[in-house]
């Protein structure tokens, strides 16, 4: 098999040691995750658009089953870094990388890596809700069908389980055959989460999942992330500092492509090491 989530290695790197040293976790969280095991490890990892280096030599470990938030001003490379993890950037012809990025110990950009399998393991939810113009059922069943589940009963099970996990089952259970584009923005976004969960990924990448939603829908998505924490390794890009502090265990601060600081969330927000981080979280620039 290409990549197993439990085949974990911990490359010794200065930044990782720094991150673990800075980690502050409430005890109950520590139990859920069984400590910080790296799931995704970047080492001197850069992403370029042509000549332009959008992500600059990032070295960090993303810990298994924890929620890691990425914050930073617009254009600092948050999305680029996130999309590098499931190779969504492959869609951009000019985009290329250097350094190493490991997922469960295997090189994401390795020559033999099958990006299709990778994306099955590393699901992504985008900024703008993007359901297919198909029925709610077909949206959720899309992934399982791709991966060979065709039995109607089994599909129904998966659809229900995924929609329940995404806390939207009660709202849509009586109209699974209706077009998903008829749902509200917030419902669509939770549907997209359910669709991603249906292929049973290990990692969930969320790129500003609430920026297109109203406060009520945002609260629902945040609740959902709370529900899912502990079951999935979650990475969430957000503009909203409150959101980052509410939902995440760890936070990364990016500035102009550089990962300036990476620490346990409570720690980073109360006790930032870097003056840039402090300026950003106190709202001196954005």
């Amino acid at each position: 098999m290409l990549m197993k989530a439990d085949a974990r290695q911990s490359p010794e790197s200065a930044s990782i040691q720094k991150a673990t040293r800075d980690i502050y976790l409430p005890p109950e969280r520590r139990q859920i995750a069984g400590g910080g095991t790296p799931h995704i490890s970047a080492k001197d990892f850069s992403v370029y658009y042509g000549e332009f280096e959008a992500v600059k030599k990032v070295s960090a470990d993303i810990f298994s089953k924890y929620v890691t938030a990425i914050i930073g001003p617009s254009g600092c490379g948050k999305s680029t870094f996130l999309r590098a993890i499931n190779r969504m950037n492959d869609l951009i012809p000019s985009c290329h990388t250097s350094g190493s990025l490991l997922f469960g110990g295997e090189d994401i950009y390795g020559k033999l890596t099958d990006e299709v399998l990778l994306r099955k393991k590393v699901g992504m939810v985008f900024q703008k809700p993007n359901p297919f113009p198909k029925s709610i059922f077909d949206n959720i069943a899309y992934g399982p069908r791709l991966h060979g589940v065709n039995d109607k009963k089994k599909l129904m099970e998966i659809v229900e389980r995924s929609l329940r996990k995404a806390a939207i089952w009660d709202e849509v259970c009586d109209r699974l055959d209706k077009n998903a584009l008829g749902l509200s923005g917030g419902q669509q976004q939770r549907l997209c989460v359910a669709r991603t969960l249906a292929v049973e990924p290990d990692v969930l990448l969320l790129d500003e999942p609430t920026s297109a939603l109203d406060p009520k829908a945002t609260a629902k998505i945040e609740d959902l992330i709370q529900e899912l924490r502990g079951s999935y390794t979650i990475m969430i890009v957000t503009h909203n500092m409150q959101q980052a502090s509410r939902v995440s265990d760890y936070t990364m601060f990016f500035y102009e492509g550089v990962m300036v600081e990476y620490a346990a969330t409570a720690h980073l927000f109360t006790n930032p090491k870097d003056s840039m981080t402090e300026d950003y979280i106190t709202g001196r620039f954005s």
């Binding site: 969504m88 099955k120 993007n130 113009p133 899309y142 669709r195």
Partner: protein
């Protein structure tokens, strides 16, 4: 810019916009109204007993007994005409030679017009062409012939400074003092009883073959040929075009070769259709020898090449218009590229692709030049599906041109030509309309 100026500008733009739309609508009316009103005349007209005779003997249409009654009724009035002719012919025999010669010269056009009006007269040899077997089948034509019979057209050229003027001289005066003089008032008075005009609806115009190169009958072979050619062209061009569009949008690496291909495609879309016609003859018939000579398949292939660039471009645009987010969603779920194309991109692009397809279908149906050398014949019967590989076919577009310009009696069968134009315009309009409906329905389904 201050508010007042802005409002004035807005208003004047509205006026210009509405004006141009109205102008366009008027221009369209100028084209469409005559087409429809004349074309409808091919199916709805006042037909004479001659038309019913023709339908009965050429197509076995109508009630034979009823027709026999009508013919008998008409013959009663015609018999008097025949008597007068016979009487005058006998009278001429008794004349002095120079007088006889003079009357014969005047009599011969009268007799000929009567032939045209009533069909073969007693004593005439059986005509070879079907068109001479019957009198005037359409009342408005009969009225024209009647006028020819009653009046001689003369031109007043006395004043060289103005255009010569047309004037009519009663034919009867030419025969004054002879027994024929009474013929003219008799025919004029009894023309309705002789021809029995009756409002006729002739749907057979759409479903019958033509008789005697479109003198009588319908345009079914042309309609069928048009469908064969257009649908045949689609069968080749549509799958090929969609595949090419997928290649261009999803697989082609940007570069010299790719941009060459693209500009070649754009150029092809602008090549005059007659060039495709010549190409079709040279390539499909002379080089590939898909058929001995003109055939439906050669025409369909030529049309396919002609519409291919349009289909490719429409499909390309439709595919590019599919939101990037669908692609990301699908790939993000671990879908392969091909799977994403097949299950997400193509369904979402379908309305645009189909619209391009149906509009191209309409274009293939309407083009004349590509089929002149490859598929079209001016007169022919409807061919079977099995014959498409070997037989040419008549087709609406080509036959409209042919009837307008090359037919030996174009002026006498204008109604057929207009009928064909109406049929062709209707087919193209229907196709475009169905494209709009199809597009709306699929878009609605996609939007939920």
């Amino acid at each position: 810019m201050n508010l007042g100026t802005r409002k004035i500008l807005d208003r004047s733009f509205t006026a210009v916009g509405i004006g141009s739309i109205v102008l366009m609508a008027l221009a369209l009316m100028v084209v469409v109204v005559p087409i429809v009103s004349n074309g409808v005349g091919a199916m709805f007209f006042t037909g004479t007993v001659e038309h019913r005779k023709m339908l009965q003997s050429e197509f076995k249409r109508g009630e034979p007994r009823e027709l026999a009654g009508e013919v008998a009724a008409a013959e009663r009035y015609r018999a008097r005409v025949y008597e007068m002719l016979a009487g005058f012919e006998a009278e001429m025999e008794r004349m002095k030679p120079e007088q006889k010669a003079e009357y014969e010269e005047k009599y011969s056009p009268v007799r000929k017009t009567l032939q045209e009006l009533l069909g073969p007269l007693p004593g005439d040899p059986a005509p070879m062409l079907t068109r001479f077997k019957y009198g005037q089948t359409r009342w408005e034509k009969a009225e024209e012939r009647l006028h020819d019979l009653l009046y001689e057209t003369k031109w007043d050229t006395s004043n060289p400074d103005v255009m010569s003027k047309e004037y009519f001289v009663s034919q009867a005066t030419g025969f004054e003092g002879t027994s024929l003089a009474q013929l003219f008032p008799y025919v004029e008075k009894n023309i309705r009883k002789i021809l029995l005009p009756k409002f006729t609806i002739y749907w057979g115009f759409l479903t019958d073959s033509s008789v005697d190169s479109h003198f009588f009958g319908g345009i079914w072979p042309e309609i069928q040929g048009t469908f064969f050619l257009a649908i045949g062209a689609m069968l080749f061009a549509f799958p090929l075009g969609v595949i090419a569009a997928i290649y261009f949008t999803e697989y082609a690496k940007p570069g010299f070769f790719n941009s060459m291909l693209r500009s070649a495609n754009s150029t092809l879309a602008g090549v005059p259709s007659i060039v495709f016609g010549m190409f079709g003859l040279a390539f499909f018939i002379n080089t590939l020898k898909v058929s001995e000579s003109k055939s439906v398949i050669a025409g369909a292939l030529t049309l396919a090449i002609m519409i291919l660039p349009t289909i490719i471009r429409a499909a390309e645009e439709a595919i590019l218009a599919v939101p990037k987010t669908y692609r990301e969603a699908s790939l993000g779920l671990g879908s392969t590229k091909w799977n994403t194309i097949a299950t997400v991109i193509l369904p979402a692009a379908l309305p645009g692709i189909l619209t391009g397809g149906v509009i191209s279908l309409g274009r293939a149906a309407g083009e004349t030049a590509p089929i002149i050398f490859t598929a079209a014949v001016s007169v022919g019967s409807a061919i079977g599906l099995a014959d498409v590989f070997s037989s040419p076919t008549p087709a609406l577009s080509w036959n409209i041109y042919n009837l307008a310009s090359e037919h030996e009696a174009a002026a006498q069968i204008r109604h057929v030509q207009y009928g064909m134009v109406l049929a062709l315009v209707s087919i193209v309009l229907l196709l475009n309309l169905s494209a709009i409906v199809l597009r709306a329905r699929i878009s609605k389904k996609l939007k939920g």
